[in-house]
């Protein structure tokens, strides 16, 4: 009980920080537009053109065409082994496609890029670095300040001096999110980042991700097994099956969304489940 109460308090603190951070940004530059209704300053569009990937003889993705507009939050669902992680690794530049091209912000992806960040299912923090130096892993100039700001953004500024081993799963994932935010990426790729969390923590993480996405405006690709999660977060949901896209469904529900309480959301979930 005490644990969950302190998490809630952290969240309240976090919203104060959010207000502070926003006020500061407004002093420094023009008001940043939020959400999908306005074009984002930060987000970059992603184009896949006849993208195919096979491992040996087994074709995993075949002739995929897809345009993800800048700033969109796209969710991808599909059965285990249908190639979701493979697609994400291709977009991140961790693997090369067998054929076809990927372009981010108009430039073709040849290798790993600094404007694209990837969040894995496990947080992958370096256990021998404290939380703050994990967030500032790239050690860019003035990393202490930017890392501290990113930690404050996810509501964990009081844990900056802890070892990762003492964090809970949700906190570790929030640190990983802060680490991804430090470089202000144009694209954030998430590979089932909340899959290992309990339902309550997962909902908290949804709210956090939604808030930060609206604030930063990066293009987001979220892979998930959880259809409810996809409908709760995304502007658009794709279903991948047999190497291709079998459903491309816009989610026109008002934000901020309440999870599980909406009949329109339930109808969309049923629609997606039919295709998976």
């Amino acid at each position: 009980m005490r644990e969950s109460a302190s998490v809630l308090r952290l969240h309240k603190d976090a919203s104060f920080h959010e207000a502070d951070a926003l006020a500061e940004k407004n002093l420094l530059r023009d008001v940043r537009p939020h959400g999908k209704d306005a074009p984002s300053l930060n987000g970059q569009d992603i184009r896949l053109d006849r993208l195919s990937k096979s491992f040996g003889n087994r074709s995993v993705l075949s002739d995929l065409d897809l345009v993800i507009p800048a700033g969109q939050l796209l969710a991808i669902v599909g059965r285990s082994g249908c190639g979701k992680s493979t697609l994400l690794r291709l977009i991140a530049g961790l693997d090369r496609p067998t054929s076809g091209t990927i372009a981010i912000g108009g430039a073709e992806v040849q290798s790993l890029q600094p404007n694209v960040r990837l969040l894995f299912q496990d947080a992958r923090l370096l256990p021998w670095h404290r939380v703050l130096s994990n967030v500032g892993i790239a050690r860019t100039k003035g990393w202490q300040e930017t890392a501290a700001a990113a930690l404050a953004d996810v509501g964990l500024d009081d844990r900056s001096n802890d070892w990762p081993a003492v964090l809970s799963g949700g906190q570790a994932q929030r640190v990983a999110l802060a680490r991804a935010l430090v470089s202000r990426p144009g694209v954030l790729l998430l590979d089932e980042p909340f899959g290992a969390l309990d339902a309550l923590t997962r909902m908290e993480m949804h709210r956090l991700l939604e808030r930060i996405w609206r604030e930063h405006g990066f293009t987001t690709v979220l892979i998930t097994h959880d259809v409810a999660e996809a409908v709760a977060l995304a502007d658009r949901v794709l279903v991948i099956r047999d190497g291709g896209i079998t459903l491309d469904l816009p989610v026109d529900l008002p934000r901020p969304r309440r999870e599980g309480a909406d009949t329109a959301a339930v109808a969309l979930q049923a629609r997606i489940l039919e295709e998976v």
Binding site: L112, P127, A138, P164
Partner: protein, 272 residues
């Protein structure tokens, strides 16, 4: 953890310490009585009091310190040379496939040779000078560090390496911030093995051929039937070994402070 329960905790700990010392103390007293009553010949085993007297005497005339210093110097020189080579080769083989192909099978083959078996050869090569002993210690300490460094680097979580690449770490920061710390627990295990072999090798080498050092001191004493000095030499070796072990523990506590297992043992050690 306040008040009575705390007091109870320290009381129980003190009692445990007392109990664990009881048997050695009883044995020591029995030994002393046996020696004094003549049941135990002092030509075979001296009385504890005689060992203590020999300790005091050798400390007073400076011979103990001289010999212990020389032994420690040989041990450390051998460790730095051998352990250093083992570590560097382990790192090279760990991070580069070509280096692995060149070194690893040779190292795996050589490590099966008991290094003390080459003593006759070493004496042929170096005579009985300093080099012979340092060479033997170096050979003995190189392999544990090589094997554990190589193994440690190869078992660093590949997911962490992939993450570091995504965050743009080049090969040099990747090595210092991900690979080396990840391999550190294993490297320190290797260091412990090396330290054990370091003393063992030195004892054998000094006993066979030396004109100084703790091993020489005991062999010399044997010729004059000074069993008290022989036993003293054995105790000094044990203490030096214990000291090396203690230093590695400190090193582990510092270098592995992030590690949940090590941190737990360190805190427990500090509170009890």
């Amino acid at each position: 953890m306040v008040g009575p329960s705390h007091l109870h905790g320290t009381g129980a700990a003190a009692l445990r310490t007392l109990a664990s010392w009881a048997l050695p103390i009883v044995l020591l007293i029995a030994w002393e009585i046996a020696s004094r009553s003549g049941v135990l010949s002092t030509r075979l085993l001296p009385a504890p009091s005689a060992v203590a007297a020999a300790f005091w005497e050798s400390l007073r005339n400076g011979t103990l310190l001289t010999h212990a210093t020389i032994s420690t110097e040989r041990a450390l020189k051998g460790l730095f040379i051998g352990g250093g080579i083992g570590f560097v080769l382990g790192v090279l083989a760990g991070v580069s496939r070509p280096a692995e192909i060149v070194f690893d099978s040779s190292m795996q083959m050589l490590r099966n040779v008991p290094h003390l078996a080459i003593i006759p050869l070493v004496i042929l090569w170096f005579g009985i000078g300093e080099e012979a002993k340092i060479f033997l210690v170096a050979i003995g300490t190189a392999f544990p560090l090589y094997l554990n460094t190589f193994h440690g680097i190869r078992t660093v979580d590949p997911k962490l390496i992939e993450m570091a690449r995504v965050y743009g770490l080049g090969p040099v920061p990747l090595f210092w911030r991900v690979i080396l710390p990840g391999a550190m627990p294993s490297i320190l295990v290797g260091l412990r093995f090396s330290l054990g072999l370091m003393w063992l090798t030195l004892i054998v080498a000094e006993t066979i051929s030396a004109s100084s050092g703790i091993g020489y001191m005991t062999m010399n004493a044997r010729e004059f039937l000074q069993t008290d000095v022989v036993v003293l030499g054995i105790i000094v070796y044990a203490l030096l070994g214990k000291l090396a072990d203690f230093i590695t523990r400190l090193l582990e506590a510092r270098a592995l402070a992030w590690h949940p297992t090590y941190r737990r043992t360190v805190t427990r050690g500090a509170t009890s």
